[in-house]
Symmetry: C2
Subunit: 227 residues, 2 copies
């Protein structure tokens, strides 16, 4: 990390163009690869209606991708180039967390969408008007979350033994996500500066992570999984 | 086929509910499986922007799926049940036509979208107002077609030897599609009746197929492939 804890947020004249391109590139590739993985995970569904539900969640990701890549183009950058630096970290995350069955796929979509949305809301505050509006627009539809919640709760109700395995799985998802987030933070100085500056300082980052962690814990409780 | 050539189109009081559910079920599963296959084929793309372009085409399929399945629900049927009779034929089509590379994937999307749209436009005429409007709404965006045309033409221009292989590939796609269409026609009497009645008689069906074939030939010529 290139930023130090005394980086003065108040003196900042808005995020650098590189930081914004980085951020949008990371979000864009995140959406593109989430699309790809959810589309594949939908094949694990036990029936056509459930398969269609996860496919629809995947479709929302590619719609978000389009908005993000258009904005990258508007900023004069090439989407593929903007996404490039984040391909390895995001691919590795998904390689390490390929679901073995339908429920693992659903928990992954639920946990992933939830953390992504919380993170988007936090960083939206660090951005200028136009980018902030865009980032808040690509939040996930709560209808998908509701579907995932219903499915996971019903499965655990029908077979309480599942709770342990799925809770472990959720912890592994978060662990892998943190590993890859640290890798990105170490490699992309401008983006890291944006988050550190936006949070105020490194203590602010700590607070941000505690908020994300608490929200994740709340979501786990909602579906009957202890964190 | 249960319909005979003397089936009186003029005495028909609109398509049967079973025929409409069948039709929407076939279109819905067609969209769902096209989504799934295009999403997978996008991985064959040589770069991220092209991958995103085919992924976006896949996203349009799932958007269409949603409209179709909502209409099926409005008609009081279950989407999964309505799609059920068409799963084997459509899965077998895609199993038999898995692209080996990016260009085969693109040609498949181009040929498939084109024939599907022509077929949708034809059968839209056989339907009542509401269903007709829906079927005409789920036509594919010409922006995607334009992308496919540009890509295929550029590839053939750069390497004219490709034309032969891709033309063969397109013929195989059409052959497999006809095989599965015949299978569906033999199995689903109500749907077959709808198409025969709508076309007027079996001679009308012949004319319809000639129109579809000619439009396909024109599309092949557009991208520099002889039919």
């Amino acid at each position: 990390m290139s930023a130090d804890s005394s980086f003065p947020a108040s003196e900042s004249s808005g995020p650098s163009a590189q930081a914004v391109t980085d951020l949008l590139g990371a979000l864009a590739y995140g959406s593109l690869v989430a699309f790809d993985r959810m589309a594949a995970d939908a094949r694990l569904a036990p029936d056509l209606n459930r398969r269609a539900a996860l496919s629809t969640m995947a479709g929302a990701e590619i719609a978000n991708y389009r908005r993000l890549s258009e904005r990258i183009g508007d900023l004069g950058a090439d989407p593929a180039e903007a996404m490039g630096p984040f391909v390895a970290a995001l691919d590795d995350f998904h390689e390490a967390t390929a679901p073995r069955d339908w429920l693992e796929g659903l928990v992954k979509a639920y946990v992933g969408d939830g953390i992504a949305d919380d993170f988007y809301r936090e960083i939206a505050n660090f951005l200028d008007e136009g980018d902030r509006a865009l980032v808040l627009e690509v939040l996930h539809d709560s209808a998908y979350t509701d579907f995932a919640v219903r499915e996971i709760r019903a499965a655990i109700e029908a077979d309480p033994k599942l709770a342990n395995r799925l809770a472990l799985w959720a912890r592994r998802l978060v662990g892998e996500a943190l590993t890859q987030a640290q890798r990105v933070a170490a490699e992309r100085d401008a983006l890291t500066d944006l988050v550190v500056t936006g949070s105020g300082d490194l203590a602010g980052i700590g607070t941000l992570f505690r908020r994300l962690t608490q929200a994740h814990a709340d979501r786990m409780e909602t579906v009957g999984l202890s964190n």
